[in-house]
Amino acid sequence: MQFGVQDMLKLRIPDSIARQMLEHAAAEAPLEACGILAGRRAMVERCYKMKNAEGGTDHFMMEPAEQFRVVKDIRAAGLETLAIWHSHPDSPARPSPEDIRLALTPGVVYIILSLKSGMPDIKAFNINDGNVTEVPLLAGLPKRNESGTDTAAS
């Protein structure tokens, strides 16, 4: 649990990760797919495809046992949990009131992958106490002249 962590200002998702997310979402459709993204310094390195224990087309729920396994795996790899994502097969890439209500884990970005529009749409959000702000998602690698903070969006 990361208490007091600043809201994430941006998140980088490499191609291979975005592809895994899309594949998982497409494979699980019309059910909602879900997963956890882990990495370091706002750069995603791993995508954990999670089981939707709710098995619903308009709901998702992770299994605590699987959550514990994944969190320990992330820790053992020296990474942090950066985002929780799920798909909206039939609605836009925006958190629903229920998504906002159940965004309980502090310090992570909430990502929604929509298949609704006929073209995949991935958006990320900080959700705190019911307040939703969009987080820019950047692709691929940081710019080479980075010292410790990222430069402007790619």
Partner: protein
């Protein structure tokens, strides 16, 4: 006494049950949290009875879920 919480060593008071530990960790919604004590996932009814001992390894994680609830709306308007 020394315990491990979410992989980090920590020092907590003696005699705390899980409810007390979650309160001490400032968990805002303990009813939405899953707890694993020494590798076993506790039932909610055990949060009161399970007492933390020296050297225990505790993991807790928030419920992760959501839902668009959209199909309910669609069905209502069809």
């Amino acid at each position: 006494m020394k315990v491990t919480i979410n992989g980090k060593p920590d020092d907590i008071g003696e005699g705390l049950n899980v409810d007390g530990l979650l309160a001490e960790q400032e968990v805002k919604m303990p009813e939405m949290v899953s707890v694993e004590l020494n590798g076993d996932i506790l039932r909610r009814s055990q949060f009161h009875s399970a007492v933390i001992k020296e050297g225990d390894q505790i993991e807790f994680i928030y419920f992760m879920g959501g839902g668009s609830g959209l199909n309910a709306i669609n069905r209502a308007t069809d």
